[in-house]
């Protein structure tokens, strides 16, 4: 059965977590608070998706399996709060890891569901490239993440998944991440001759240019953008507390942030 193949991964339970590289990141206090109270009382939140501990252990064991098969490239494995598996890899390992996930009998993630980028400007390698894969045979999904900066190229996934073609064009157009060995890397969503990469965090919402039809020149002209109203920033804090269930958590978070900041200032 497919189950018998997956049962192989349960034998991994005897393999200890390797060098602390494997973390299960619980998202926020929401889920841990609910888990502790749901065992004794009847379920008061039927519309919230139930947490499955069995699924979580299966998913995390499979993540360990992948990390063990590819120790050269897998930097970290994590399971999100919704039991979604994420493999964080080094950029040199894009092709090997994706080929393994597509071809290995115990993986068979033959479908690339999504390929997107994330911009986190505060990091040294600001762009994250995220591959979402689907296995039709085992009905599971997996996420593979790499990183790069503005200038370092990534290997194109087109030789592994033909469907990655336009997705990579979009990432190039919107973020400026270059993919080597891509069959046809050019802009896909922006206008011809558009300058800039719109999804970067430092690109403004309005953009830099606007276009209008000029009657004298009898054509559409591009001009620097002028807004009728100046930019307004709203302060959304209210005098009443917003999250009465998480008073302790929010105070603890802010206290931790305050405690972390002064020691750094003292060091400086």
């Amino acid at each position: 059965m497919a189950a018998s193949v997956r049962r192989i991964t349960s034998s991994l339970a005897k393999y200890a977590m390797r060098q602390g590289r494997f973390t299960t990141s619980q998202a926020t206090g929401i889920f841990s608070a609910r888990n502790s109270s749901s065992t004794s009382e009847p379920d008061l939140h039927p519309t919230i998706r139930p947490v499955s501990a069995v699924e979580r252990t299966t998913v995390s064991e499979y993540g360990q399996y992948v990390a063990e098969c590819l120790p050269k490239y897998v930097q970290q494995v994590q399971v999100t709060a919704g039991n979604e598996l994420e493999i964080l890899i080094a950029p040199e390992g894009v092709i090997p890891v994706l080929t393994f996930l597509r071809d290995h009998i115990n993986a068979q993630y033959t479908n690339i569901a999504d390929l997107c980028g994330v911009d986190v400007p505060s990091r040294e390698y600001r762009f994250e490239v995220v591959y979402n894969l689907l296995s039709v045979r085992y009905n599971t999904r997996i996420r593979v993440k790499t990183y790069t900066d503005e200038l370092t190229p990534l290997d194109s996934a087109c030789e592994v998944f033909k469907g990655a073609d336009w997705y990579e064009r979009e990432v190039w157009d919107m973020f400026g991440v270059f993919f080597s060995n891509h069959p046809d890397l050019r802009r896909i969503l922006t206008d011809y001759g558009f300058e800039g990469h719109p999804f970067r965090k430092d690109f403004p919402l309005t953009g830099y240019v606007e276009c209008r039809y000029d009657d004298e020149e009898k054509r559409v002209v591009m001009e620097p953008v002028e807004l009728a109203q100046e930019f307004r920033k709203f302060d959304l804090s209210a005098p009443w507390e917003q999250f009465p269930q998480f008073r302790g958590a929010i105070d603890a978070d802010s206290a931790a942030a305050a405690a972390a900041a002064p020691p750094q200032q003292e060091k400086k």
């Binding site: 192989i8 050269k72 080094a90 950029p91 009998i105 045979r137 990183y147």
Partner: protein, 187 residues
């Protein structure tokens, strides 16, 4: 001045019209004949394609059944139900060959490589199932990994992967540690 206009005689007119008609008839016949030839070529191509698709699994691996014995009609299924995946006439033979190739390829990897260990485990399990189950439906239900043709596909892919793994050597230690705070979230 004499008029240099020479009118054709009735006989000449009739003759030229007759020639034109003959030419047109010949041309139309030629066109029909060419059309027929193209149709015949198309039909032959279709038949050859169908034959190739049904024999593709044999041709790809160079395994030819020289002794084409009469097979029981009920033993071979008519279709896989999947577009582009032709029914294979000897899946056991092909699977045996593929599994042997994969195991030979895995022998070249270091003994402690996790990929080698788990893949050997999977392939040996499949190999024992193929050797123990002589019928195709029995094999499919025993392994539970899809139809026999899909099992062949999976074995092909695993073989390609194993060969690439020999070049990539993923069992080596981590090639590049993540930069500081690369994966921290929230920031």
């Amino acid at each position: 001045m004499q008029a240099s206009l020479k009118l054709p005689s009735a006989r000449e007119v009739w003759f030229s019209r007759h020639e034109a008609k003959k030419q047109k008839k010949v041309e139309s016949e030629l066109a029909y004949f060419c059309e027929l030839q193209l149709h015949v070529i198309d039909r032959r191509r279709q038949i050859a394609e169908a034959r190739y698709l049904s024999e593709s699994s044999e041709q790809v691996f160079g395994v030819t059944d020289k002794f084409k014995t009469s097979r029981m009609a009920s033993a071979i299924k008519k279709t896989t139900g999947l577009t582009g995946l032709a029914v294979s006439r000897n899946p056991h033979q092909i699977l045996n060959i593929l599994h042997a190739k994969i195991l030979r390829c895995l022998q070249k990897m270091p003994q402690d490589a996790a990929y080698r260990k788990y893949t050997e485990q999977i392939i040996l399990e499949r190999d024992s199932a193929v050797k123990s189950e002589p019928t195709v439906p029995g094999l499919e239900t025993k392994l539970g990994g899809g139809q026999a043709e899909e099992l062949i596909q999976q074995a092909e892919r695993e073989l390609m992967l194993a060969r690439k793994m020999l070049d990539w050597k993923p069992w080596e230690p981590l090639i590049a540690e993540a930069p500081n705070k690369q994966w921290t979230w929230p920031l």
